[in-house]
């Protein structure tokens, strides 16, 4: 059962990801990216990480992608004429394939240590309780730094997007 779901979700994820980079219209491209994020959230549920799956849907697909669509519609872009040289296209795809082959070789040759020490059950692993407990104890400093980073992002976006700046 899990195998069937994994195959289904991964096939859909790869299909939607391919459509993201193959679409001419940027709007369709971003909408396919939203679909990709949804299928990835389904894969996270399979990996017993329901909290991360919820975050993926609410923050990524819900907030970040809405920002994408908002800017896209604000700019009112037509599908820009992309004078991409075929040579550049072939080179780009070749580089991506080489990267994939290198990753496959690394995966085959590097042994991944088996589970040692940590022995949490699958239900306990991704629960809000266990994640929250670690987030506010072990990872408290990175959590606070992340909030400062978001503050800097907000201020940066406002400063950049202000209409008339006196030089």
């Amino acid at each position: 059962m899990e195998t069937a779901f994994f195959l289904l979700f991964s096939a859909l994820t790869i299909f939607c990801a391919l459509m993201v980079i193959l679409q001419k219209n940027p709007l369709a491209s971003v909408l396919f990216l939203v679909m990709t994020l949804f299928w990835l959230a389904a894969l996270f549920v399979l990996l017993s990480a329901p909290f991360i799956a919820a975050i993926q849907v609410i923050i990524y697909a819900g907030a970040i992608m809405v920002l994408f669509l908002f800017v896209l519609m604000l700019l009112n872009l037509k599908a820009i004429e992309e004078g991409v040289k075929p040579a550049l296209k072939v080179t780009g795809v070749a580089v991506a394939l080489i990267l994939l082959v290198v990753a496959a070789v690394v995966l085959r040759s590097v042994p991944i240590p088996a589970n040692t020490g940590f022995s949490r059950s699958a239900a306990e692993l991704g629960s809000v309780e266990s994640i929250g407990q670690m987030l506010f104890s072990v990872y408290l400093l990175p959590f606070e730094i992340a909030s400062f980073l978001l503050l800097a992002g907000i201020i940066g976006a406002i400063v950049l997007a202000k209409k008339d700046r006196k030089p």
């Binding site: 990216l33 700019l75 991506a96 994640i131 987030l135």
Partner: protein, 101 residues
């Protein structure tokens, strides 16, 4: 067939390669941005797969931080694209070679 860690890592590598191909072959700045998001999500998948493999929630917490960084990055990056469009009336990266030497 039992779904193992390797299956998820291969899927993650495929998604990352698709993102790299998108960055290298497209000229629309927004689609390049979307491809970068694709690569980030491929890495997130690998993190969650390792978290399950080792039974350690640390990987899932790292995904949390990656999402926070992605949110900040998208806010600033899209603001830059808006300013760029106002100045040049295009988001084709070939027309934007201000910093090219």
């Amino acid at each position: 067939m039992v779904v193992s860690l390797n299956h998820y890592l291969v899927l993650s590598a495929i998604l990352f390669s698709i993102g790299v191909a998108g960055v290298l072959t497209r000229k629309n700045a927004i689609i390049i941005f979307a491809s970068i998001e694709l690569m980030m999500n491929a890495v997130n998948l690998a993190f969650v797969a390792f978290a399950r493999h080792w039974g350690d929630p640390g990987g899932q917490i790292f995904v949390f931080f990656v999402v926070a960084v992605a949110a900040a990055e998208v806010a600033v990056g899209l603001a830059i694209i808006v300013v760029l469009f106002r100045q040049k009336e295009t988001v084709n990266i070939d027309r934007v070679n201000l910093m090219k030497w």
